[in-house]
């Protein structure tokens, strides 16, 4: 017990550093993927057939293959095939590669949720806007968007909770996120080795963060309950 109390500050410190990297990846992914998903959704709903087919194929590939493989390919492909890595060196380069992989992967999932949300708004809403002389973009932003957001909050919440845990996949390209930090005390780091308990701690970090996410998105859902 004494040993654990001694090691605790070192472990917590390392986990915090890893967790900050995890949070960074989490927020960067959301900031990139939430709007990009909307663009992809419009692409797959486009009346221009080649565009909608292309987007659907891309979404199929991205959703149909493991994110882990996508990360490996994004990170190593340029270096191994063209002999020239484009990601820069060290942790910053790994982060850029991971962020791009995550943003693209999650944007594809979000796009399908958005598509359902947009389709779910009754056609009468668009027609009412049209006969009132609104433009297509006014109808989208002033009439349909909020109704769509209301519909998609629960499925997006699901996806965001998955994202919290998925950030750990970035470990595959050695991004030093929280699991990497926790695991390092199994192998040996800063004089601590063969310890499993830091990993339990990392699980706790995820649990707390997912609690925060659930509460925040639950609040948003509640806020949109003022209309039906």
């Amino acid at each position: 017990m004494d040993k654990i109390m001694e090691q605790m500050p070192i472990v917590i410190n390392a986990l915090n550093v890893g967790f900050i990297q995890t949070l960074k990846l989490f927020f960067v992914t959301l900031i990139g993927a939430l709007p990009l998903g909307l663009i992809i959704a419009f692409g797959s709903m486009s009346r221009f057939r080649p565009l909608s087919w292309l987007t659907k194929i891309v979404v199929w590939i991205v959703r149909g293959t493991p994110l882990m493989i996508q990360l490996l390919i994004i990170y190593y492909f340029p270096g191994l095939v063209f002999g020239k890595t484009i990601w820069g060196s060290g942790e910053a380069g790994r982060f850029t590669a991971a962020a791009i992989g995550f943003i693209f992967n999650y944007a594809c999932y979000f796009s399908e949720i958005y598509r359902g949300g947009i389709r779910g708004v009754p056609i009468g809403q668009e027609e009412a806007g049209l006969v009132l002389g609104m433009t297509k973009s006014q109808i989208f932003f002033r009439v349909k968007l909020l109704q769509m957001i209301k519909r998609i909050v629960p499925p997006v919440c699901n996806e965001v909770i998955t994202l919290v845990k998925d950030t750990s996949l970035a470990r595959i390209i050695a991004l030093q996120e929280i699991i990497w930090a926790g695991q390092s005390f199994m192998k040996g780091s800063q004089g601590i080795s063969g310890e499993i308990w830091p990993l339990f701690f990392t699980a706790f970090y995820y649990l707390i963060w997912n609690g925060v996410v659930t509460i925040v998105l639950g609040k948003l859902e509640k806020k949109l309950e003022y209309f039906r």
């Binding site: 009754p122 009468g124 049209l130 006969v131 009132l132 609104m134 433009t135 003022y226 209309f227």
Partner: protein, 266 residues
């Protein structure tokens, strides 16, 4: 001169001919009722007038200005269509109010968005906004909804929703207001309050095209009646002519189904 002239309108969906060469005209300040069984093309006709459907053939003129001519290709631009649409208003069977806005905001929204396109909008933003709000409040008052302005659609009854929808359409002061079975989604108790609003509008000489199954109301309120059957105008004339002395056997047959049926008091 007629305010609305419709000439030789045809519309097909795939192989189904929904409108087969329809022509009619309407004088300013008159109420036209369109009756006929379901699937006779009444709703499609209204949707053509409001540019929600594009007729395959035909011409639509308002105040002598050709708004739509199937022969001409220039009439297809979105901005153009938007402007032309504003000659017409449309009240839907299922109201289609915007659920996230209050009754008042539902009435104001389209006008606010239009005002933004004006050049002097930025300078007089506040005054313009207040004017639109006052007009919207007045319209809702006329609909008997003064105490409901701050309510959201889900807090209103069907009849109240439909009256908000009518106020919303009136806010843009259309030349011609179209109603697509405005009471079909309402129970009989609520039908009366909406029909009363329509009657008031008819008395104020609002030009209206009303697709309806309320025969008693059509007889009572309209100046002109069209009976449609299978995409054709089978019979038209004054309410007296069409209801009391129908020429066509099909019209008689259709109307006989409605006689003896209890109608709503208005």
């Amino acid at each position: 001169m007629a305010i609305l002239e419709v000439e030789h309108i045809c519309k097909s969906f795939g192989d189904t001919e929904v409108l087969k060469d329809l022509s009619f005209s309407l004088e300013k300040g008159q109420a036209l009722s369109i009756i006929g069984s379901s699937g006779s093309g009444k709703t499609t006709l209204l949707r053509c007038l409001n540019f929600l459907e594009r007729p395959d053939k035909g011409i639509i003129r308002v105040n002598g200005e050709t708004l739509f001519d199937a022969e001409s290709t220039v009439s297809g631009q979105e901005a153009e269509i938007r402007k032309k649409r504003l000659h017409f208003g449309l009240v839907f069977q299922s109201f289609n109010l915007f659920p996230q806005y209050t009754a008042l905001k539902n009435v104001m929204l389209a006008k606010e968005l239009l005002a933004k396109e004006k050049k002097d909008y930025k300078a007089n933003k506040k005054a313009i906004h207040e004017e639109i709000e006052a007009e919207a409040a007045e319209l809702l008052r006329q609909m008997g909804l003064s105490d409901r302005m701050k309510n959201y659609p889900h807090q209103l009854s069907g009849g109240q929703c439909q009256r908000v929808a009518i106020a919303r359409a009136l806010a843009l002061s259309p030349d011609i207001l179209c109603f697509d079975e405005p009471t079909s989604a309402l129970d009989p108790e609520l039908t009366g309050e909406v029909l009363k609003v329509l009657k008031d509008l008819a008395q104020k000489r609002m030009t209206m095209v009303i697709v309806t199954h309320e025969m008693e109301f059509a007889k009572d309120v309209s100046d002109h009646v069209i009976f449609m059957d299978e995409g054709l105008i089978l019979e038209q004339g004054s309410p007296e002519q069409v209801f009391e002395h129908p020429k066509e056997e099909r019209t008689r047959q259709f109307l006989s189904r409605y006689t003896g049926q209890k109608n709503v008091d208005i």
